[in-house]
């Protein structure tokens, strides 16, 4: 069989991609951003208030969680992050009419780019925007910045350069100082840069009088959180530094300046953010006016205007606002119009200047009118249909304001703006049900296509002709389906559910539908019950429950051990004691490795308190546990030794394995481990602050990656065999005239498997380098489990072959037994005619997920290990940094999917032997390639069933409270996993298996086709 005949893998992968594309377009939300700008020029009503302050200083301390400045932080106090930034609460206690402290709700996604957008526009950036965080994007919506520029005011900026990607040209060129934001390892550069530029502008710089808004964005607190976690002396030092900065700012600023200090979002217990956990959305907001008092104090404000909320762990509730409420408040305090898209509501404390709150009522009037105009414009826009269901409620709420008298007007106005905010929040969780249905149908069909192809690939007979015929029919049917879909487009647009789908999406769907039916009908697979099928069904059904979705990291090892049960029971009935011992031994190894891997976990938020973080030394630090540090270096020697030991069973530790394992693989693992050890030394400042190993580890990592890719790749592609051929002359026996040359080929029995495994090891080493220490141990154990599984699958096949033979032909069975006992000494074993079974694929698929979870990942956004972006470079560099994060995150799944073809290659000799030990006439290569294709389809099938499970649950539970926290992230993970599994098997079959088989074919031309 030709390798090119495996195009069906590509077809199946594109079916997956099409399904994922269609479903994702319908499921992940988007928001229409309106580019209108509020203008005072042609309005009859006042559009702003007289300013109370000439200018403002806006200091953003990234990830400043509310409890960091809370006057009553949670008990017990953390010595590292509570009561350290004390200035805000001191001033609030002393000057309750000048200083105001709030717990501000930051809308998820709690990533800096989204929060910056929210903070200047007053709007709600959507979930999909989270993906843009690496690339940034400028905004065309109205914002405070734009209003300031329109009023011809100058903006000074210093700090996080994300601001410049949002506002490339708005800041005054002489007063703009940006610093790299994604360099998480650097705790101080940005903060020092901000401080150095901030104070001159406040005091004696030539530009000191020329700015009207000064934005300073500190990143240190956020970086300490990401890098070391909030419970560390470094956090204390950082917060101390922030407090000092605040004290100095308050000291030097003049009375016309308003000071606003806030965190753009909070951080979770470990110091990460991105999701919608309580700790992540609770940010701090402090507003301080050194000059005029802003209000009479909160005791004069009616209590129903003031919302309170208790921060997790605190004993007292505190004043709680929306973070975007700052936008209209700040605009009016500076005498600017409120940005057009704002959905925030002015904060009462900042405007309540007489007993009846006249000023506040005025502010609220302007605010309400602006929100109303925004909603009306949105309603009139192309996306206005989204408001259909809620428009009446909004109109009722609006009319209540104008009808009401002065006393109730406040209540109704606030009710209206809040209703608008809530409406928009749920609105931008708007789904396109039609597209979702298209996507789900395509994904469902891809399951049947995968199943059909899997069934058909169990039979070698006439495979080639079948595939060629299939190619013709499916392309014909795809074209027909596409044509039909294009025709059906116009008539079907009358159905409301199908509106908003484009013609090209119709055509794509039609093509998928047509071709998929073609494949399914040409095979017509028959359902069969199987043990591993039960695991697969339970696993995909588990996504319908949020509990099982977030406990998936425990369910996977449970399933893995369960999948071992049939093998384990075969051990007792195996025909020889050799096989019995072998199966029991490797079962024990497999189970032990899986269980040891399961000891590593980064808990997701929902698992608290039934889960202890073992991936790191603790829940709030980002250092490896000391046991892992101790085991890190020994494991780099142990793993290659185990691989050698296992390869030596089939005498295939020869050939390139002899060079690759000790001279390329081991050093690469060592370098990868040393990198992370040095990173740990740097992070925890073990050697003091004077020693910086950054340059050393950059070089080390570059050498390691370069070495394994260039040396390993070149070596493997030139000689992809692990054979050693020994020729020796046998002295002439009696009656023979001349001596014979006896040729022994070592590693013959595993001629396909071992070189492919070397290929796999190259990938393993690359993933290893990007993985943190605990994850490296998990990967090592996973490799051991994989090898044990391969040996198990082989032994079980042997045992079954002998047992079957005993049933049919006892004498042949004895011959088989004979050859098997020889296989222990490395001579060729039988070529079992059995095909790869789903029972053998399931453990590899589960192992892939197990490796993903135990290498410190979860199906959540905050579990992405951003640290890995800086393995090769000290600063953010394209394309390497994002690529490294991807390798770190999806590497484990990719790696084990790449191992699936090994099931067909492992312990297969390049020549079929007849019972007398003479090479037979037929070659096993077609069967081997088809087996690799079958194993690949099997693992694709496993992951696509999981994808369908998670997609169905995300679609079905799309109004569930936890959809953005549990179901949507799991769907996105599932989709990405399918893509990476597809890539891995394509690489494995085309490059890995293709190269190995063609090389073996050229080495053993005799008997091959």
């Amino acid at each position: 069989m030709q390798i090119q005949k495996s195009w069906i893998l590509l077809y199946l992968a594109s079916l997956h991609l099409a399904g994922i594309y269609l479903f994702t377009r319908g499921f992940l939300l988007s928001r229409l951003s309106l580019s209108a700008v509020t203008s005072c020029a042609n309005s009859t009503t006042p559009c702003t208030l007289p300013p109370t302050h000439k200018r403002a200083v806006l200091l953003i301390i990234d990830a400043l969680r509310f409890d960091f400045i809370s006057p009553h932080p949670p008990e017990p106090h953390s010595p590292y992050h509570h009561n350290i930034i004390t200035l805000p609460k001191e001033l609030t206690a002393q000057h309750p009419r000048h200083s105001f402290l709030f717990n501000a709700h930051a809308d998820p996604p709690t990533a800096t780019l989204q929060r910056i957008k929210g903070l200047v526009t007053g709007s709600l950036p959507t979930f999909v925007d989270a993906g843009h965080n690496f690339a940034g994007s400028s905004i065309d919506e109205d914002s405070i910045i734009r209003q300031l520029r329109a009023a011809n005011k100058n903006i000074a900026f210093m700090g996080d350069d994300t601001w410049l990607t949002v506002f490339p040209t708005s800041f005054h060129p002489n007063m703009s100082h940006d610093f790299d934001s994604f360099n998480v390892e650097d705790l101080h550069t940005v903060d020092h840069g901000v401080t150095a530029n901030l104070f001159p502008l406040l005091t004696d710089s030539p530009h000191a009088a020329s700015w009207d808004l000064l934005i300073g964005h500190f990143l240190g607190v956020d970086h300490v959180g990401h890098r070391i976690g909030p419970d560390h002396p470094a956090m204390k030092a950082k917060q101390q530094q922030m407090n000092d900065v605040l004290v100095r700012v308050v000291d030097v600023m003049d009375e016309d300046t308003l000071l606003v200090v806030l965190g753009d979002h909070g951080m979770d217990r470990k110091g990460d953010h991105g999701g919608d956990g309580d700790l992540e959305v609770s940010s701090a907001l402090w507003i301080y006016s050194k000059g005029p008092a802003l209000s009479l104090g909160s005791s004069f404000i009616p209590a129903y205007l003031l919302q309170n909320k208790t921060f997790p762990g605190e004993s007292l509730p505190h004043r709680w606002v929306q973070q975007i409420d700052l936008v209209p408040s700040l605009s009016l305090l500076l005498g600017l119009p409120i940005p057009f898209n704002n959905l925030g509501t002015v904060i009462p404390e900042l405007f309540w200047r007489d007993k009846s709150g006249t000023e506040y009522l005025k502010a609220l009037n302007i605010n309400t009118r602006q929100v109303h105009e925004y909603l009306a414009t949105y309603r009139a826009s192309s996306a206005g249909g989204e408001l259909d269901l809620v428009w009446n409620d909004l109109q009722t709420a609006w009319s209540k304001i104008s009808e009401s008298g002065a006393t109730t007007k406040l209540t109704f106005s606030i009710a209206y703006t809040r209703l608008a905010l809530e409406t928009c929040r749920s609105l931008w969780a708007q789904f396109n049900v039609g597209l979702m249905a298209f996507g789900l149908t395509t994904l469902f069909l891809s399951l049947f296509v995968g199943w059909s192809l899997y069934e058909r690939s169990g039979r070698l007979a006439q495979w080639d002709t079948w595939v060629s015929a299939l190619g013709r029919t499916t392309s014909l049917l795809a074209a027909a389906g596409a044509g039909l879909a294009a025709v059906a487009y116009m008539p079907s647009q009358t159905l409301p559910a199908l509106q908003g789908i484009s013609v090209s999406q119709y055509i794509l769907f039609g093509a998928c539908l047509g071709s998929a039916f073609g494949v399914v009908f040409s095979v017509r697979p028959v359902p069969r019950l199987s043990f591993s099928g039960l695991i697969l069904v339970l696993h995909s059904l588990s996504f319908l429950s949020n509990s099982y979705t977030f406990w998936e990291d425990r369910a996977v090892p449970f399933f893995l051990i369960t999948s071992l049960a049939p093998t384990f029971t075969t051990a007792f009935s195996a025909p020889t004691s050799h096989l019995r011992r072998r199966i029991l031994f490797f079962s024990a190894i497999f189970a032990a490795a899986v269980r040891l891997m399961a000891m590593s976990s980064v808990c997701r938020e929902e698992q608290h308190p039934w889960c202890t973080v073992t991936f790191f030394a603790g829940a709030t630090v980002a250092e490896p546990p000391s046991l892992v540090v101790a085991l890190a270096l020994p494991s780099c020697f142990l793993l290659p030794w185990i691989i050698r030991r296992l390869l030596s069973i089939s005498k295939s530790e020869n050939g390139i394995a002899k060079i690759f394992l000790p001279y390329i693989f081991t050093p690469t693992l060592l370098a990868g481990t040393a990198y992370w050890l040095m990173e740990w030394v740097d992070t925890s400042s073990l050697l003091g602050d004077t020693v910086d190993l950054r340059l050393a580890r950059t070089l080390l990592a570059r050498c390691a990656i370069g070495g394994i890719v260039i040396a390993g790749g070149a070596l493997w592609s030139i000689v992809p065999v692990c054979l050693q051929i020994i020729s020796q002359r046998v002295p002439a026996e009696d009656g023979e005239t001349e001596g014979k040359t006896q040729v022994t080929v070592l590693g013959f029995a595993n001629a396909f498997g071992s070189p492919y495994f070397i290929f796999w090891c190259i990938t393993l080493a690359i993933v290893w380098i990007t993985t943190q220490l605990t994850g490296q141990l998990a990967l090592g154990l996973g490799t051991v489990a994989l090898l044990a599984h391969l040996e198990l699958a082989d032994s079980v096949r042997d045992a079954k072959a002998v047992l079957d033979a005993f049933d049919t032909n006892p004498s042949a069975a004895l011959a088989l037994l004979q050859s098997q006992s020889d296989s222990a000494t490395g001579t060729p074993s039988i070529v079992s005619s059995s095909v790869v079974e789903f029972n053998e694929i399931v453990p590899i698929a589960l192992l892939a997920l197990h490796a993903f979870y135990t290498s410190g990942h979860q199906s959540t956004l905050p579990s992405i290990q951003w640290k890995s972006a800086f393995v090769l470079t000290p600063t953010l560099t394209y394309p390497f940094s994002p690529a490294l994060v991807v390798i770190n995150h999806f590497g484990p799944v990719f790696l084990f999917a790449l191992a699936a073809p090994l099931l067909a290659l492992w312990n297969v000799a390049p020549l079929k032997l007849t019972s007398s030990g003479v090479p037979g006439a037929s070659s096993p290569i077609p069967a081997v390639i088809l087996g690799a294709v079958r194993a690949s389809i099997g693992i694709m099938l496993y992951f696509s069933v999981l994808l369908v499970g998670s997609a169905v649950s995300a679609a079905w539970l799309r109004r569930h409270l936890m959809v953005w926290k549990v179901f949507a992230p799991r769907y996105m993970m599932g989709a990405a996993e399918v893509v990476f599994v597809d890539l891995a098997v394509l690489l494995g079959v085309w490059v890995g298996a293709g190269r190995v088989t063609s090389r073996i074919r050229s080495m053993f031309p005799k008997g091959t086709q």
Binding site: S545, S547, Y548, V594, R595, A598
Partner: protein, 186 residues
């Protein structure tokens, strides 16, 4: 005898302990819980078979040390009944089915632990223990049903066979008579 059956049950408890930990039972905490669940499973699954069949011959102290040939027969029975799940008699079915039921029940009993209902009965190791007991009961009942069905079917087969045999006999007797007549006539 009972002592050896107990000894084997204790060994099996240790084995179950390891298996439970491999399936994900906590390593450092809940030690008595896991141990008790392991002993429950061991008592449900192997105590009665070990008493009825005699414990399998293993190189462990306190187990029976019989002659090699007897040992092979005994171990083969254990393998056939429990590993290959091919009971040959009603007695063997009554040993295998409840044991299988207990193991499957304990496995299924793990599932409710993951739900976030926060009920006291959800705590480990309660649900696997309930599952094991329930599975044992279902297994015992199904052994009864299967053995009963097999017994009735066998009786039916026997009766049919008897009838066939009687018929054949009659026919043969007739033929013999016929042939005898023919011979006589000849």
């Amino acid at each position: 005898d009972a002592w050896k059956a107990w000894a084997f049950t204790i060994y099996t408890t240790l084995a179950y302990y390891v298996v439970l930990v491999l399936f994900g039972a906590p390593i450092a905490t809940h030690l008595p819980h896991t141990a008790l669940l392991a002993s429950l499973l061991a008592i449900l699954t192997v105590f009665i078979p070990a008493y009825a069949l005699g414990p399998p011959v293993l190189p462990l102290p306190f187990l029976s040390q019989s002659t090699p040939s007897a040992a092979v027969v005994l171990n083969d029975t254990w393998v056939r009944v429990f590993a290959e799940r091919k009971p040959h008699s009603a007695a063997e079915r009554a040993l295998l089915y409840p044991a299988l039921g207990a193991v499957v029940g304990a496995w299924t009993g793990v599932i409710p632990i993951g739900l976030d209902w926060d009920r006291p009965w959800q705590a480990y190791p309660l649900t696997p223990a309930y599952g094991a007991a329930l599975g044992y009961t279902i297994g015992a009942l199904s052994a009864l049903v299967v053995s009963g069905t097999v017994f009735l079917a066998a009786q039916d087969v026997d009766r049919t066979a008897e009838q066939v045999a009687v018929k054949n006999k009659n026919q043969k007797a007739k033929e013999r008579k016929k042939r005898g007549k023919e011979l006589k006539e000849a």
